[in-house]
């Protein structure tokens, strides 16, 4: 359930979803009326491999508190191999962010198929909660962008 208590910290979650699986999965969770928090804002990309690490850093710079990347399950990529590249890229990027002391739970990769509306909603609920626990992103924000 979504809580709209103003006192509670409302994290901003940016979700990159691949067009073929995860975006469809998100649509399905909508069709099935499966709730997840309004904190999650989805950006559609053709394939998870389109997501440049710069986009993720950009989101953090601009005030996102968590970034999640969703794509087809390994082996199911519409473009056959895109998500395999995504997996390596993101593993290394997240590892680097971790190395720099950025909280690990602010980033995640999840494979969500077009049939997994329930998984999509559950993932978003879970991820939002995890980020909420961490509190506002302070280690990778740009002070100039902080909302007054």
């Amino acid at each position: 359930m979504q809580v709209n208590d103003n006192k509670e910290f409302q994290p901003l979650i940016v979700a990159f979803c691949c067009n073929w699986c995860s975006y469809a999965g998100a649509d399905l969770s909508g069709t099935n009326r499966l709730n997840y928090p309004t904190n999650v804002k989805i950006i559609r990309v053709p394939c998870s491999c389109r997501v440049n690490p710069m986009f993720i850093l950009r989101a953090f710079q601009r005030g996102a508190d968590g970034v999640i990347l969703c794509g087809c399950h390994p082996g199911d990529c519409h473009y056959t191999s895109g998500n395999y590249f995504t997996r390596r890229r993101m593993t290394l990027l997240f590892s680097m962010l971790d190395f720099l002391g950025i909280e690990r739970d602010r980033t995640r990769v999840e494979w969500v198929s077009a049939a997994e509306g329930a998984k999509f909603a559950a993932t978003m609920n879970e991820f939002t909660e995890a980020v909420r626990k961490l509190g506002p992103n302070r280690r990778l924000e740009d002070l100039r962008c902080r909302k007054q």
Binding site: N4, T31, T38, I43, P46, M54, T80, G82
Partner: protein
């Protein structure tokens, strides 16, 4: 700066019940560049679309944002509407405020707030949209089928049937492939040759089909609709056009000790040969490794006896280049090499044979004229042991991890045929599982067990030892009875795993198609696009894609043909305009993008540039073929300089969306 129109859909109450659409339209109306912002009951309805069209004309809009249901629903609807109003259809963006907002949220205030943000992101993106035009590329009206087995033949026939020219490239002197070697087919036990050879003849006589036998593909250039293929016609030292296939040369050839490939080396052929009686083309071929004339310069018998004057000892390999619109891969399979299987004594004992060898031993055109005799002493075997899964479902490096699929059924067939013809022969089949999913398959298997009393034993054969008395000691375990068995067999038949033909791997590289770790071609989608490769214009037919029996092969062959025809009927193909493109001024030529492209859409060209200091320099730069690129964007991230970008999902567009969402 764009002039943007925003259209917020109520979707009846689907959106309007949870999202305050008026507030959304009002808020988005204040975004920079937005000149009109409206809401409407059903934006996708005709009157809704007219609203959009009229606004485009009236306000001279350069961009449109529709806040509605998922773009997967109506993106196309609004793109068409925009195009009808004279706006480039790629200047339309959808903000998904139904599936990803109104339907999942309950609180109007927060849902409205989110809908506004999603709308702002779409507006931010549209600001950076550029009109895109789908390119077109012509289609060469000719197909190439690589492989002349039943898969290739069926595909070629179907394509020819539709009226398109099609070439078959077969590496062997004749088409026919594995099916030509098979005696009977399961589960009907009809004669393989009887159903195959008419198809071979049909192929050879079809005016649309050209058969390049004894030929190989050596180079493939180009892309969907426009492949240029180089085919090597290997020298067969016989002029195909002159040879009548009378066979006199093969009779007179003094060199008769050449292992006969067609009969799996179980008998011999001459140095000049026609693989089998129904070969297509029925043309002789000289094997230069054995021909006396070729080796010593002394002989020339065939040349003397050939009344057609077809023999040409000086013939050279010939290369032909041809343009094709579509390519079908039908390179088939082979049983794996069993040299490593010492435990089955395959290399030590001639009476341990593979199933394909057994086919030849039982075939009327085979080495024994159809009588099943032991290769060693030409006696009737009375006890035959079949070993299943030799190299299939195997964890170690000797074998294959997959199930070869056809072995269970052909072994049942063999067992049944032997029991039918030689009822005094005892037949044992050692299996891990018996897999019989298929029409009439399980019935067939049960007949072998119940009607023909074949001894099916669940268990593994541990060791096969040829004995000095000519018998073969088969040590095995019966897992159900939980006991060790020793069988004194006369023959052992190994159901060797099948693997893709060795020529497939280099071919895949030429075609820039994907293969799995077992060298089977990877289909574009395992469920929805099973006969297409991920590379546009390349289709897959038969066992090159995975183990298959004959009916499956033929079904896939026809499916591949249908897909190829679907491509060939088009005069040109419309390309998806949302493709990658490289900024040549920034490209380093490092090849990173090429490495991650699943479609081989990126090539490198050396291009001359005017440098800022007015000199010229030749630089290696990436070039994306828009007809081949599918727009995944893998290259855009692999490119460190950011030279590679994706139309419709550009770096700046996605970052603008991020910015808008995080604002």
């Amino acid at each position: 700066m764009q002039r943007i129109g925003v259209f917020v859909c109520h979707c009846g109450t689907n959106i309007a019940a949870t999202v305050d659409v008026k507030t959304v339209a009002e808020a988005l109306g204040h975004e920079p560049g937005v000149v009109i912002s409206q809401d409407y009951q059903y934006m996708c309805s005709e009157s809704g679309q007219n609203l959009v069209k009229n606004a485009i004309k009236e306000h001279n809009l350069t961009g449109v944002v529709v806040c509605s249901c998922s773009p997967r629903m109506h993106e196309n609807t609004f793109r068409k509407a925009a195009a009808a109003a004279g706006l480039n259809s790629y200047m339309v963006e959808i903000a998904n405020i139904r599936e990803q907002c109104s339907w999942i949220h309950k609180d109007i205030a927060t849902a409205t707030e989110k809908a506004i943000i999603l709308g702002k992101a779409a507006v931010a993106k549209v600001h950076l949209n550029a009109p895109l035009t789908a390119g077109e590329s012509p289609v060469a009206k000719r197909a190439l089928v690589i492989g002349g087995g039943i898969a290739g033949i069926q595909t070629a026939l179907d394509i020819a049937e539709a009226g398109f020219d099609v070439d078959i490239v077969e590496k062997n002197p004749t088409i026919g492939g594995k099916m030509a070697q098979i005696d009977k087919t399961f589960p009907t036990l009809d004669c393989a040759a009887c159903i195959l050879t008419p198809k071979m003849v049909e192929a050879s006589q079809n005016e649309h089909i050209t058969i390049h036998s004894f030929s190989e593909v050596t180079d493939v250039k180009g892309f969907v609709g426009n492949f240029t293929v180089t085919i090597k016609k290997k020298a067969r030292f016989v002029d195909e056009t002159k040879c009548t296939g009378c066979g006199l040369c093969t009779e007179k050839c003094p060199m008769k000790k050449v292992p006969n490939e067609f009969n799996m080396g179980l008998d011999n052929r001459s140095a000049i040969y026609i693989p089998f009686a129904q070969a297509v083309p029925k043309v002789a071929t000289i094997d230069p490794n054995y021909c006396m004339m070729m080796k010593t310069g002394k002989c020339g018998v065939c040349s003397k006896v050939c009344s057609a004057g077809a023999i040409d000892y000086k013939q050279q390999d010939k290369f032909i280049e041809q343009k094709y619109g579509a390519i079908v891969v039908a390179t088939g399979f082979n049983p794996i090499n069993l040299d490593k299987y010492d435990e089955f004594a395959y290399n030590q004992c001639p009476d341990v044979v593979t199933s394909l060898e057994l086919e030849r031993l039982m075939n009327a055109a085979g080495p024994n004229g159809g009588t099943l005799l032991r290769p060693s002493d030409k006696t009737h075997p009375h006890k035959i042991v079949f070993v299943q899964c030799v190299g299939s479902r195997c964890d170690d490096s000797k074998g294959k991890p997959y199930c070869s699929k056809i072995c269970c059924m052909y072994t049942a067939k063999h067992a049944m045929l032997i029991r039918e013809k030689y009822p005094d022969t005892e037949v044992y089949v050692f299996y891990i599982d018996v897999r019989t999913p298929g029409k009439n398959f399980d019935e067939f298997y049960r007949r072998a067990v119940e009607q023909y009393n074949v001894h099916y034993i669940k268990g593994m054969v541990g060791k096969v030892t040829p004995r000095s008395d000519g018998k073969i000691d088969v040590q095995a375990s019966d897992l159900l009875a939980n006991e060790q068995l020793h069988i004194d067999a006369d023959m052992v038949v190994l159901a060797a795993a099948i693997e893709p033909d060795k020529t497939a791997r280099p071919l895949a590289t030429m075609l820039t198609t994907q293969m799995d770790t077992n060298d089977f071609f990877t289909e574009a989608h395992p469920k929805l696009r099973p006969v297409e490769s991920a590379t546009a214009g390349i289709f897959l037919s038969g066992a090159c894609q995975g183990p298959k029996d004959i009916p499956e092969t033929v079904a896939q062959a026809s499916a591949a043909a249908a897909k190829a025809i679907g491509l060939l009927v088009k005069n040109s193909i419309t390309c998806n305009p949302c493709v990658a493109h490289s900024n040549e001024l920034m490209c380093n030529g490092c090849s990173s993008c090429e490495k991650v492209c699943p479609y081989g859409a990126i090539t490198y060209i050396d291009k001359e540039f005017r440098m800022p200091d007015r000199t010229t320099a030749v630089r290696r730069v990436a070039n994306v073929n828009p007809a081949v690129c599918q727009g995944c964007g893998a290259c855009t991230v692999a490119c460190p300089s950011g030279a590679m970008d994706l139309n419709g999902f550009s770096n700046s567009q996605i970052m603008a969306e991020v910015d808008a969402i995080c604002k």
